[in-house]
């Protein structure tokens, strides 16, 4: 019987392959739990979790909150827009104030890369990173890989996964690359040259600038959202001439999908810009597992919270 090698979930990078597989095996059982008539188990009934969201989020926050509630944890929510962060309080002070109210775990999203690591070094609690700037979004990568595993019968060896779109700003891309490579898959990133970070090939991924070629290569395509909010003020699109051009070159349509000549698994971390990254026809087709990803998200987050909580010392 094994336990995680880490105390916090700050990213995929510090995890071992065994950690990831342990999370998946645990998530299998939680997936069965959330499909029962009574979807709740009492494991975390003496744990209080604070969800600190310093950046907007709907589905990640909802998914974490559901995961916490289905484990019977007590949940408090905090969002930056309605807090004293606006009054100039530092991050450590904010979190220490919350911890003084006897919180056992913190789930945090923050616009700054490294915020979760910083917090884990400075406050005494268990941190789950729910996205830190353009750095990592580990639970998204875990649920993406879990969804792929479900479709491809558990074996990642020689499976080809393409991550397409805004690789430069995407924490989902970085976490996904770490996760898939650790599991033994082959990874390719695809997008306009301005949105592919320099030296990314040193991580062990291949690069393509043509969607058509990537579709021929891949078994699974993960279409990332174009993050207009990270591309400068006032939605000024600086990395490509126009959304229309992006969508013509890198948007996934039914015709391009058919051109691959084999059934591909289509993923999207959401929220979808319909007609930009994927057309509605593709998003609603049975090749898309977008809603499976959302369902699996709750099970995977339950597994992460369960495994981390079991390391909290009871006093």
């Amino acid at each position: 019987m094994s336990s995680l090698s880490v105390k916090h979930l700050l990213g995929i990078e510090p995890l071992t392959r065994e950690d990831i597989e342990l999370i998946f095996r645990t998530a299998d059982e939680f997936k069965e739990v959330i499909n029962r008539p009574i979807k709740k188990v009492p494991s975390l009934r003496d744990i209080t979790v604070a969800n600190l969201f310093f950046e907007n989020s709907t589905r990640t926050r909802l998914s974490f909150e559901l995961a916490e509630k289905r484990l019977s944890a007590d949940v408090v929510n905090f969002s930056a827009s309605s807090s004293s962060v606006k009054k100039g309080e530092t991050l450590i002070d904010t979190v220490n104030n919350i911890l003084a109210m006897k919180i056992d775990m913190v789930v945090m999203r923050h616009p700054d890369p490294g915020a979760a690591l910083f917090l884990s070094e400075n406050v005494n609690t268990i941190i789950v990173n729910a996205g830190d700037g353009t750095h990592e979004h580990p639970t998204q990568a875990l649920l993406d890989a879990y969804s792929i595993r479900e479709r491809l019968d558990e074996d990642f060896t020689d499976r080809r996964v393409a991550i397409i779109g805004d690789i430069l700003h995407s924490r989902v891309a970085l976490s996904n690359i770490h996760c898939l490579l650790k599991l033994g898959a082959e990874v390719q990133v695809c997008g306009p040259p301005t949105l592919i970070p320099k030296h990314i090939e040193s991580m062990g991924v291949s690069i393509s600038y043509s969607l058509e070629e990537t579709l021929m290569w891949a078994d699974v395509v993960n279409m990332l959202r174009i993050q207009l909010e990270r591309q400068g003020d006032g939605n000024v699109v600086k990395y490509f001439p126009s959304l229309r051009e992006y969508s013509m070159k890198y948007g996934l349509t039914a015709e391009k999908l058919a051109g691959a000549g084999k059934p591909l698994v289509v993923m999207h971390p959401g929220p979808i810009n319909r007609g930009v990254e994927v057309t509605s026809e593709v998003a609603d087709s049975n090749q898309a597992i977008i809603l499976d990803q959302v369902e699996n998200g709750v099970a995977v987050r339950m597994a992460v919270l369960y495994l981390l909580a079991s390391q909290i010392e009871r006093n």
Binding site: T26, E29, R36, P37, P42, S43, L71
Partner: protein, 182 residues
């Protein structure tokens, strides 16, 4: 110290035969009765009984499921390592059914307490009975008693009762291990 054999292979077979007959005596044609083996080790006993029932009552449809209690245990975070869950496989409705919970050894009663909780998240059964192969008497921490008992055993706290299954170790028997206390 070498383990003492509490039940040898012949007795083992006879006891499971007897338990199976006791179940038939009380439940006749198993119309509204379902068997639930507790993961991990109660499952072997449940499926063994299911096989015997199948031979004795060839025309009766039997329902037998596996119930995992990991998430319902009361010793979460009191152990060194996290508890690893097992699969739950229940493909029938337990609402208004007579449920027979099945486990190999009844000791403190805490596993059964967790099993009752886990079972209730699948519905509200009409009645619940408990069948165990070994009842370690006088060691209960909760007010839980079995309905059907393979064999009652008097044992000390530092002793350990191990049920071996043919499926796992290649022989059917029950041993009592005494750990040396120095």
């Amino acid at each position: 110290m070498r383990p003492t054999t509490l039940i040898d292979t012949t007795q083992f077979e006879l006891i499971i035969d007897r338990l199976t007959h006791e179940l038939i005596e009380n439940h006749r044609n198993f119309e509204d009765t379902v068997l639930l083996g507790l993961q991990p080790r109660g499952v072997y006993l449940a499926h063994r009984i299911e096989q015997k029932l199948g031979r004795l009552l060839p025309d009766v449809p039997l329902r037998c499921g596996d119930l995992d209690i990991t998430f319902f245990r009361d010793d979460f975070r009191r152990r060194e390592k996290p508890l690893q869950p097992n699969a739950t496989a229940i493909d029938f409705i337990i609402e208004d059914q007579n449920v027979v919970l099945i486990d190999d050894v009844l000791y403190t009663g805490r596993t059964i307490r967790a099993g009752l909780d886990a079972m209730l998240s699948f519905g509200r059964p009409a009645t619940v009975e408990l069948l165990v192969l070994i009842d370690r008497r006088f060691s209960r921490e909760l007010p839980i008693e079995p309905t059907y008992v393979g064999k009652s055993v008097d044992s000390l706290d530092h002793q350990r009762v191990t049920v071996n299954w043919n499926e796992v170790t290649g022989k059917d028997d029950v041993e009592l291990h005494t750990q040396r206390t120095s």
